[in-house]
């Protein structure tokens, strides 16, 4: 073999090794945060009534916690477990609704952002939704909210839990089509 070819082969091997090393970075999916630190939510996350003076509805507040939980696979799968543990299905029936409203569609009476869902769980809502503020630690409410949001497909595919540990009547979240929440104005809260 000529020395020129040998040098070329060595260069190719180096490039291949370099590319393989870069691919290793993809192995790091996410770090499990076993003890997530959350800031308490300040203010009202969602307007509770469709009635308000003037033209402008108060803008829903955003929280620094929300984004982290929304995209975190561990948080969403923990939310899935808690959804069963705290018997959310007792009223919301695996997300399909029953005594309480369905959670897997695009209709959100009290807003579909994770902050608004967190507020609905923490504060409770009229006609039967209890307040869980003092009964579920805040980080776990955020995990629940992330899962509830994921029920209507509002979840990055890579973060969606594929299926629960038990037999389920609903398709796995990876197969739920995305249904972005409708703008608050198009749905009357009194519906």
């Amino acid at each position: 073999m000529c020395s020129h070819c040998r040098a070329r082969d060595a260069r190719r091997a180096c490039v291949a090794a370099f590319c393989a090393t870069i691919a290793l970075a993809a192995c790091q999916r996410e770090q499990r945060d076993l003890d997530p630190h959350v800031e308490p939510l300040a203010g009202q996350a969602t307007p509770l009534s469709g009635l308000n003076p003037g033209e402008d509805r108060p803008a829903p507040i955003r929280s620094s916690n929300g984004a982290g939980f929304e995209k975190n696979a561990y948080a969403i799968s923990e939310g899935q477990r808690l959804f069963a543990w705290f018997n959310c299905s007792g009223c919301h029936g695996n997300g399909g609704g029953g005594i309480g409203p369905a959670l897997m569609d695009d209709v959100w009476r009290y807003g579909g952002s994770i902050e608004q869902i967190h507020a609905s769980i923490a504060q409770g809502r009229p006609n039967g939704m209890p307040t869980f503020r003092d009964k579920i630690p805040d980080a776990e409410i955020w995990q629940l909210a992330a899962y509830v949001r994921a029920l209507s497909g509002n979840v990055p595919k890579a973060a969606a839990p594929s299926r629960g540990e038990t037999i389920s009547v609903t398709p796995p979240l990876t197969r739920v089509p995305e249904q972005p929440p409708k703008p608050a104005d198009s749905v009357s809260p009194e519906r």
Binding site: R81, W85, F86, D134, I136, E165
Partner: protein
């Protein structure tokens, strides 16, 4: 004659054969049966191993000599005899092992009469232990401790509510899996009074290694006394601190997962705490149960058992003290 120091060094690993979690120190019929076949296998395989090594050494020595001597056309009747003997030995050894394991299997699965029914449910990462009764009000529920009467066969129903676990109490029986959607039955007949350690033997998630079961084998009378004591509802809080702790327990998120019979707490996703203070360990064997360990656990369970499903519940140090007062009074 003084024993040479090397004997002590060689014998040191043998210390691992005894203890509260050892299949080589059987304390029950099933473990003894498995121990017998274990020793038989060790004997047969050890003998064959020694023989193989002996022949190998011989072959090496012979090979050196053969290179020097003229190896041409040497007929050795002794060698061919040894070869035939070897084949016979392998067949006989395997036959002995196959028949022995068949007989042991039959013995382990033989039907038993007058059994004590126990139900063990594997959870991530603890054990729910129930003693069912025909009267539903007298079904005893506890967690992470398994009390068994000596000299009586107990039939343990194994279930799981999440993933596959495996129950292994080496001193009493072999391991058996807990599989979602089915019920497996493990039979144990303890013959020696004492405390043993059970452990999950099938990887079941982050805290698999922290999933231990405290097993107590007691005399029939002691077992019955334990059962009667634990069927009773929890002791009502007496001191002011305990009363405050009891109130905190039902106000705080504790009540969402745990049950204390005799109080308003009746959830079943976490361990039943009715007679919590009578247990030896905390968090399925994560720590011996003491006031200090419990206070640390309540402050942040993740620090003691990383990944545990119990969250840190926000409360003041004073509130935590009252809660510890109450929980440690639940004997």
């Amino acid at each position: 004659m003084r024993p040479a120091p090397w004997i002590a060094v060689v014998a040191l690993p043998l210390a691992g054969c005894a203890g509260v979690q050892s299949a080589l120190d059987p304390a029950g019929d099933e473990a003894a049966t498995i121990g017998d076949i274990w020793h038989l296998m060790l004997g047969v395989c050890g003998f064959m191993f020694a023989l193989t090594m002996l022949f190998l050494a011989w072959a090496i020595v012979r090979g050196r000599r053969a290179r020097e001597a003229d190896a041409e056309a040497r007929h050795e009747p002794a060698l061919s005899l040894a070869l035939h003997g070897w084949i016979a030995l392998v067949v006989a050894g395997l036959a002995v092992l196959a028949i022995a394991s068949f007989l042991v299997d039959r013995r382990l699965l033989a039907p038993a009469t007058d059994v004590l029914r126990v139900r063990v449910t594997g959870m991530q990462w603890w054990w729910r232990v129930e003693y069912p009764s025909d009267d539903p009000g007298r079904t005893l529920v506890t967690a992470n401790e398994l009390h068994l009467p000596v000299d009586r066969t107990s039939e343990i129903e194994l279930r799981t509510e999440d993933v596959i676990h495996s129950l292994w109490i080496p001193n009493l029986a072999g391991k058996l899996d807990l599989v979602p959607g089915r019920v497996n039955t493990l039979r144990v007949t303890p013959r020696r009074i004492g405390g043993f350690r059970g452990q999950c033997a099938e990887f079941c998630g982050l805290d698999h290694a922290w999933m231990a079961l405290d097993v107590r084998v007691e005399s029939a009378d002691a077992f019955e006394a334990w059962r009667q004591r634990h069927l009773a509802p929890a002791k009502p809080p007496l001191s002011a601190g305990e009363r405050e702790g009891a109130q905190l327990f039902v106000q705080k998120p504790c009540v969402m997962c745990h049950a204390i019979r005799g109080s308003d707490a009746a959830a079943s996703t976490g361990p039943d705490l009715t007679h919590f203070a009578s247990r030896a360990t905390l968090g399925a064997g994560a720590r011996p149960l003491t006031r200090e360990a419990l206070a640390m656990w309540l402050a942040d369970p993740n620090r003691i058992k990383p990944g545990v499903h119990m969250p840190a519940v926000p409360m003041t140090a004073a509130e935590r003290d009252r809660l510890v007062d109450y929980l440690m009074s639940l004997e």
